[in-house]
Amino acid sequence: MVISNTDKELKIIEKWCKGCGICVEFCPKDVLEVLDETIFIRDLENCIKCGFCELRCPDYAIYLEGDSNE
């Protein structure tokens, strides 16, 4: 099954996030923010579901659900 980007959903697991800020720094659309040392989705509207946050999160605390691995 081919899943288009728009069908994917951006998910976070706050309990796993260590607040390193890597996903925030390399998000091309400035969607994310670290608040109180935990990841926060500030601007979901702008998310292009590129998956860079998922690729570089050292703690697997942010990902796209329904991506090509599923």
């Binding site: 607040g19 697997y60 990902y63």
Partner: protein
């Protein structure tokens, strides 16, 4: 409870997550990349064995849901050699640190490479001994600092790829925790090579290497990887002086030579009649 993406659910012992590594430690990024490469290759999980030594990096197999073996410091390749000889049908993957692989384990590395035994070694290279608190390693650049080099390191660093190449590895590449998509492809190709493969995966250790050398936060260290890696295909375009402060990533060697377990089995065939 949410236990992560499908990739994480499929390949990790999720009850052990989050892992023990520090915030922003590059090892987590590399570990995920290795599992994505394994998944992309559709390998039978029962036929994959992941072996490590001791170090922060070497804790990876504890989280990965495959056959796994956490051994002693420096000896991952010795154990892996035994596994591969006993069960050549297994895909044997070694995860090791720069200290584990090139200091105490350097001898095992050169001989595993020389034998061209079908093992894929991924070095989680953070340029320091992370687990024991920041001693310099054979990949700490000259003049940089560690707890054991408070006035600067006078040793010249190993280029792990050149070392593996010179010793006889048949697949040699370098990737980074920033260039993840490329790294996944390099690991896939390493696993597919029938022979000794080494991937030097540049990690970041914000806690020790970063602090000791004033490299900033994890984000700054990731930006360093982004800004200073030059792809091997683009090297010719750069002037020598510019390259001096950069490091080269990509595939350096991909050749075919007789593989060790095959050669060993040929010997067994040859002497079989003696045991009639």
């Amino acid at each position: 409870m949410n236990t992560g993406s499908q990739l994480i659910k499929n390949n990790f012992r999720v009850e052990k997550l989050p892992h023990i590594w520090c915030p922003g430690c590059g090892h987590g990024i590399l570990m995920r990349a290795v599992t994505e490469a394994i998944e992309n290759l559709n390998l039978d999980k029962k036929k994959v064995c992941i072996v490590s030594g001791i170090g922060c990096s070497s804790r990876a197999p504890g989280y990965m849901d495959f056959n796994t073996l956490h051994t002693t410091h420096g000896r991952a390749l010795a154990f892996a050699t035994g596994i591969k000889l006993a069960k050549p049908e297994l895909k044997v993957i070694v995860i090791t640190g720069d200290g584990d692989c090139t200091a105490i384990g350097g001898n095992h590395l050169i001989h595993a490479a020389r034998r061209n035994i079908d093992i894929t070694t991924i070095v989680f290279n953070n340029n320091i001994y992370g687990m024991t608190g920041g001693q310099y390693s054979p990949t700490t650049p000259k003049n940089e600092f560690g707890t054991t080099a408070p006035f600067g390191n006078i040793d010249k660093a190993f280029d792990v790829c050149k070392l593996a190449d010179g010793a006889g590895a048949t697949y040699v590449a370098r990737g980074t925790a920033y260039h993840v998509k490329q790294l996944i492809k390099l690991v896939e190709k390493g696993i597919n090579n029938k022979g000794f493969s080494l991937i030097d995966a540049i990690s970041i250790c914000p806690t020790y290497y970063g602090r000791k050398n004033k490299k900033g936060l994890a984000v700054d260290m990731m930006n360093y990887l982004k800004d200073n890696a030059v792809d091997v295909k683009a090297v010719k375009k750069f002037q020598k002086e510019i390259l001096e402060d950069k490091f080269v990533i990509g595939e350096f060697k991909n050749t075919t030579e007789p593989e060790y377990t095959d050669e060993y089995n040929k010997i067994l065939e040859k002497v079989k009649h003696l045991h009639k």
